[in-house]
């Protein structure tokens, strides 16, 4: 697993992705698998849009008073016997986790799905410390076998087809009878479960992410469809929760509001199969639960987003709807984005976290079609913020030279209507003649990007403004 960003190579990454037939086949399932289901879930809930407004307001309020809510949260966690670890950087967070592992002489840890763990590159840090991390979410388990990273924030193995997974299982689970039937998805799930059972029982520590942290109770919340998160956090002696600062909500009530949107937006379910609230370690008389409960809260540059153009990104609940609905994501998949967070949310968040120098392509690779904002349950203005990143790039002269010079030439004319008329009049006539009545051009030197894939329609010959002037004297 390697989380060195390759966002800089976005173009190269996408070129490979677009001709990768396996990937294209897998991505073709996204519309029916997510988009249609979300639409049905939304249609069945008349107050869906009103809930979106409420959820937006809850997060805006929380972000405006984040310090107060964290004070309250930390006090509540402490009161229930848990520990909060504040970490400014990914390295610090990894160290905090490794320390806990060491203090328990942990050999294996089971892990529920956590994008924060990806952001920290935690598995590498654990391995280096001699601790074996075992991913227990089915998708994460599969990509761990393959040495890959997630290509989607809620469906990490969405870039794979069933036959690929079957081949991986056969290659890895060599102790099982080779003649077993793995054609059905259910058989794959069953097999993974059998393997993971042993891991769950053997694990010294369980690590999960958190969909939310609740200030009034000091609770962490996870939602899963496989129940793996519950086994991860309740069987081992120690439960470590990984979260980033934007996971906070003030009250249980607020958490409920957001939960009503989360699964509907992501998978189109009314609710995920499992929604689990954890508050501190096992108490006297509890039938199960860990002896220790730790929450590692990572900043990793997010406090700098507060008060900036990008603050609203911190409302994100990682539902994945913006990825599912994005035509660019659907075309290239998640790995092309080159770091942990793909799709529209990644196009905004990634430059904030790893720098726009590295991730500058991401906010540019959008048509601004606006479908992400249309479906975002938290009403995050993703296109607006992508444009803000383009502005930063432009100000810092990070935009490609060809773009800048083309733009300044165009701007020179656009600001001078009279010259503009002359230039467009000339170009329209020239291109029309060049097309020679054929209606289109098949190659056009200055627009090779266009004519590589499509013909260039011929202009009619004279501009509207020239004809209008004649008509109206």
């Amino acid at each position: 697993m390697n989380q060195t960003p390759t966002s800089r190579n976005f173009k190269r990454n996408t070129a490979g992705a677009l001709v990768n037939e396996q990937l294209q086949r897998a991505l073709s399932n996204v519309p029916a698998g997510f988009v249609d289901k979300r639409a049905r879930a939304r249609d069945k809930l008349p107050e869906f849009d009103a809930l979106r407004d409420q959820a937006r307001d809850i997060k805006n309020h929380t972000l405006a008073h984040l310090d107060l809510y964290y004070e309250e949260y930390e006090a509540k966690v402490a009161a229930s016997g848990g520990h909060v670890h504040w970490c400014e950087t990914a390295d610090e967070a990894c160290k905090a986790v490794v320390e806990i592992c060491k203090s328990h002489s942990a050999r294996t840890v089971t892990k529920g799905k956590s994008m924060v763990s990806e952001e920290m590159n935690l598995n590498a840090a654990l391995a280096e410390a001699g601790v074996e991390p075992v991913e227990t979410d089915l998708g994460e388990y599969i990509i761990q076998l393959r040495g890959e990273t997630p290509s989607h924030i809620i469906a990490p193995a969405v870039h794979l087809n069933k036959d690929q997974i079957e081949a991986d299982f056969r290659a890895t689970h060599t102790g099982l009878p080779p003649e077993r039937n793995l054609e059905e998805g259910a058989a794959l799930v069953y097999e993974a479960r059998q393997i993971l059972r042993e891991k769950f029982i053997a694990a010294d520590i369980g690590i999960t992410g958190a969909n939310m942290l609740i200030a009034e109770t000091g609770t962490s919340v996870i939602v899963t469809n496989e129940g793996n998160g519950d086994l991860t956090q309740s069987l081992p002696k120690v439960h470590i929760v990984l979260a980033t600062i934007e996971k906070m909500v003030p009250t249980l009530e607020d958490a409920t509001t957001i939960l009503r949107l989360l699964a509907r937006s992501g998978t189109g379910q009314e609710f995920s199969s499992y929604t689990t609230f954890s508050t501190g370690p096992r108490r006297e008389g509890d039938p199960d639960g860990p002896d220790e409960y730790h929450v590692v809260i990572l900043d990793n540059g997010r406090t700098k987003m507060l008060g900036s153009d990008f603050q609203e990104m911190l409302r994100c609940i990682r539902c994945g709807a913006c990825l599912n609905h994005c035509p660019v994501y659907q075309a290239v998949g998640g790995h092309a984005y080159g770091w942990v967070y793909p799709g529209p949310m990644g196009a905004v968040l990634t430059p904030s976290l790893i720098g726009v120098d590295e991730a500058g392509h991401l906010p540019n690779a959008s048509t601004f079609c606006g479908r992400c904002e249309e479906v975002c349950p938290m009403r995050i203005p993703l296109p607006r913020m992508m444009r803000n990143w383009r502005e930063r790039e432009f100000e810092r002269h990070l935009s490609p030279a060809t773009v800048r010079s083309g733009l300044s030439l165009w701007a020179f004319f656009a600001k001078r209507p009279r010259l503009y008329r002359l230039a467009t009049g000339f170009a329209a006539r020239f291109l029309h003649l060049w097309c020679g009545g054929d209606g289109k051009l098949e190659t056009l030197r200055f627009a090779g990007g266009w004519t590589k894939h499509r013909d260039f329609p011929s202009p009619e010959g004279r501009t509207f403004m020239a004809q209008w002037k004649n008509r109206n004297g």
Partner: protein, 255 residues
């Protein structure tokens, strides 16, 4: 405003001006039929999106101020494009500081700016058009028009009154065609993936005519259809509504 004949400033848009002026004249015809007096102020150039979407705010602001000045005298500003009308309506005000004189002017222009079909149906209450065309059309909802200006029914309402015209919906009509202004030349391969999917839906609809309200998207889809040797013709919705279909369709050879 003269009560009976509103004075409309036609914002031709840079693409229509240069590539397909007949869309501009079709728009004028429709606006006049609807009872407007139309002028196309000579000081207009482009809405500024190439600069805006490239992150060049300073240039965008200058262009916006010129445009605002050009269109301030009119009762309404109408453009045969959801994208350019959306730029004036939804994005111009935000270019200027809250409370500034420029902001006020931008807001005033924004408030009176409309995309052509939504202006005809919503403001001028046009119920039908005087046009005929014996074809089977499908309509692509361009992104900005659909998502920024809620344009969906307006063009269809009018198209249904074109004699002889059948309207067949394609799958995913409101999904982006991959044009995206400079996007299609900056990321040509991704754009190609998107337009290829769009073209497949157009062909699958069985329509022999593709319509939309934005010339950029139309040129993109027409260019791809023609590259693939498709028989589907491509036109701006205004041409059909105005009965101005004697010009060859987009990217189609002269008769």
């Amino acid at each position: 405003m003269s009560q009976d004949r509103p004075h409309v400033g036609l914002f031709v848009t840079c693409l229509v001006d240069m590539m397909r002026p007949s869309v501009g004249f079709a728009s004028v015809k429709l606006l006049e039929q609807a009872g407007c007096t139309v002028d196309a102020p000579a000081a207009q150039t482009c809405c500024g999106q190439p600069a805006y979407n490239s992150g060049d705010r300073a240039t965008t602001r200058q262009i916006a101020l010129d445009m605002i000045e050009a269109f301030e005298p009119f009762d309404y500003v109408v453009a045969p494009s959801g994208s350019c009308a959306g730029m004036l309506r939804k994005h111009y005000p935000g270019l200027f500081e809250q409370g500034s004189r420029e902001r006020e002017r931008a807001e005033a222009v924004a408030a009176k700016t409309y995309e052509l079909t939504s202006f005809l149906t919503g403001i001028m209450k046009m119920k039908s058009v005087d046009a005929a065309l014996d074809q089977n059309a499908t309509y692509h909802d361009s992104c900005s028009g659909y998502r920024e200006l809620a344009i969906k029914d307006q063009p269809r309402k009018l198209l249904k009154t074109v004699k002889g015209l059948t309207l067949t919906e394609m799958k995913d009509a409101e999904i982006c065609c991959g044009f995206g202004g400079t996007f299609c030349v900056k990321y040509p391969d991704i754009s190609n993936n998107m337009v290829t999917k769009k073209i497949a839906n157009i062909e699958a609809s069985g329509a022999d005519l593709l319509l939309a309200g934005d010339l950029g998207c139309l040129m993109n889809m027409a260019g791809k259809l023609k590259r693939q040797g498709s028989k589907v013709q491509v036109r701006h919705v205004a041409e059909v509504l105005a009965g101005a279909t004697d010009m060859p369709a987009i990217a189609e050879r002269d008769e």
